[in-house]
């Protein structure tokens, strides 16, 4: 579907995205994760062909999209739902039919297809409502239905979790899954609220400062669970980690940074997992400190400023990063 090569984007001289290579398959379910300002939204706007990259090429189905004209044509096949979607004046149905009307589809046909798209998201009851009389979660669902109604080859969602409650979010992902079952469509979701995206995505792209990183600040790892749990052992690079789960097959492990204990010596404790390593980064975050430990894989631990000083932890120091098996979350 998409092939990106050496793509770089910058605003006002500041580089916000740098991707050497990225392939997104036609039936992909890609979760783009990372903190605010990591380049997620920029990547989505590039994939939506709403802006041109400063450098590199983005190809759609093998054809490079370079000129304004080529971007215009490509936009007909890709649609982006923004973090706070804008609904046009008029009814929900008129909004959902908008993309089809823009393609010259007759009003009657556009409305019936719009209703189908709304039904996928269990929102057909909203059809006659005014677009300005909706809750945030409803706006989100209507905007997704509006995108789906155009039968896109790729659907891009920017932070769909921001305005929706958990139940609405489940309905949203269920609707997208149903739409994908009907026809192949690449779906890319940018999020910093991760759990639902992980449960649903089959691939995760973690961004940090505009570049891919193998580990997000939340310590995420894509693994293959051997099964036969409740206690299973998986390898994260050189590190063997015990996790408590009944699941088998591909999964994402997340180790919350605030569940990781740093110590100068190996601990005799209930924490089953310990990784020796060296501190490679120390970053202030409010009153706390994010300490990145490299022991073959990178783990981020969130500790207090005082602990950092009392333990004398500086970049280069040798430490043990320990965490309990039950602290490892499996998605």
């Amino acid at each position: 579907m998409f092939e990106l090569a050496l793509v770089r984007q910058a605003y006002g001289g500041r580089t916000v995205l740098m991707l050497d290579a990225l392939r997104i398959e036609r039936d992909a379910r890609l979760a783009i994760v990372g903190p605010n300002g990591s380049g997620k939204s920029t990547l989505l706007r590039l994939l939506a062909f709403l802006e041109a990259p400063l450098g590199g090429t983005i190809a759609l189905e093998g054809r490079p999209v370079r000129t304004a004209r080529e971007r215009r044509r490509a936009r007909a096949r890709v649609t982006l739902v923004e973090q706070r979607p804008f609904l046009f004046r008029g009814t929900v149905l008129e909004n959902v039919a908008w993309g089809l009307r823009a393609r010259g589809v007759s009003a009657m046909q556009a409305h019936s297809r719009a209703l189908e798209a709304l039904a996928l998201l269990h929102s057909d009851a909203l059809a006659g409502r005014g677009a300005r009389a909706l809750s945030e979660g409803e706006v989100q669902r209507v905007a997704v239905a509006r995108g789906l109604a155009t039968a896109p080859d790729a659907l891009l969602l920017d932070e769909p979790a921001s305005g929706a409650d958990r139940a609405a979010l489940h309905a949203l992902y269920a609707g997208i899954t149903a739409a994908q079952a009907r026809r192949p469509m690449a779906v890319c979701v940018a999020s910093h609220l991760l759990e639902d995206a992980y449960r649903w995505a089959d691939r995760i792209l973690a961004l940090h400062d505009g570049a891919p990183s193998c580990v997000t600040p939340e310590n995420l790892f894509r693994v293959e669970l051997p099964g036969g749990g409740p206690m299973q052992t998986v390898l994260l690079g050189p590190l063997a980690v015990d996790v408590v789960t009944d699941r088998a097959g591909p999964a994402t492990l997340a180790i919350p940074p605030d569940e990781i204990v740093l110590s100068a010596e190996p601990l005799r404790s209930s924490a089953r997992n310990a990784m020796p390593g060296r501190i490679v980064r120390v970053a202030e975050q409010g009153g706390a400190v994010r300490v990145t430990v490299d022991g073959g894989v990178e783990l981020v631990a969130l500790i207090t400023r005082r602990s950092l000083e009392e333990l004398g932890l500086t970049v280069g120091a040798a430490v043990y990063a320990s965490f309990k098996s039950v602290a490892v979350r499996v998605f």
């Binding site: 939506a48 709403l50 215009r72 936009r75 007909a76 890709v78 649609t79 982006l80 923004e82 706070r84 979607p85 804008f86 046009f88 004046r89 008029g90 908008w98 993309g99 823009a102 393609r103 005014g130 677009a131 300005r132 509006r146 995108g147 155009t150």
Partner: protein
């Protein structure tokens, strides 16, 4: 000394006709240009916006002079024989109102929510339909552009005087009539004509307001 009612009615009718026609033409040309300038990124766009904004400040007598020279017998468009006819006033007023329509509508769509344009594009709209979508959402500010253009044209006197010549029964508008009455010391008549002008402005603006209010969600 007063003028016959029929004459005043004729003057008012001419003023209204010139103002409505000039506003319509200026907006029909200026608003699309404004939408284009406000929604499309291209080289030289800022220079064009600057040029349009500068034209807002051109004195009306200068425009009147330019149109006079264009339309005068030895001018490039002299063959049309338009000088000292009411269509000549319309031409001058269009030239005056066009920058207003263009600059204010460009400002209106630039001030509109940037998500509107992106949303239209990502839903597959071409540039024209996307600009139209922005215009639809920014219709109140666009209405203001029409109102200001109309006000400028209706109240304008310098250009109307120069290219129309203030000829009785032919090119005398309310503003040029007020100027004449004042210069003759006939203040009562001047005030009366001024009030007619105000009443016209009130009526047309009320109509525009009604049009805008309709179709609100």
């Amino acid at each position: 000394m007063t003028w016959p009612h029929a004459e005043v009615a004729g003057i008012a009718a001419l003023s209204l006709r010139v103002a409505l026609l000039a506003t319509a033409v200026a907006c029909a040309l200026g608003i699309p240009v404004g939408l284009w300038l406000g929604t499309t990124a291209f080289r030289g766009r800022r220079a064009l916006l600057l040029a349009v904004n500068t034209l807002l400040a051109v004195p009306t007598v200068v425009v009147g002079l330019a149109i006079y020279l264009l339309l005068s017998r030895h001018g490039p468009l002299g063959g049309l024989g338009l000088l000292f006819t009411w269509p000549a006033i319309v031409v001058a007023e269009v030239v005056l109102a066009f920058p207003i329509a263009a600059a204010l509508s460009a400002a209106a769509v630039q001030a509109a929510d940037p998500r509107i344009h992106r949303t239209a594009l990502t839903l597959g709209a071409g540039p024209v339909r996307a600009a139209f979508a922005v215009a639809r959402e920014a219709r109140l500010a666009l209405g203001a552009a029409v109102v200001v253009a109309f006000a400028r044209v209706l109240s304008e006197v310098g250009a109307a005087m120069i290219v129309g010549g203030n000829i009785r029964h032919q090119t005398r508008t309310l503003t040029t009539a007020v100027a004449l009455a004042t210069s003759q010391g006939n203040f009562a008549l001047a005030i009366a004509l001024g009030l007619v002008l105000l009443a016209l402005a009130l009526t047309v603006n009320a109509l525009i307001l009604m049009l805008q209010g309709r179709g609100d969600v």
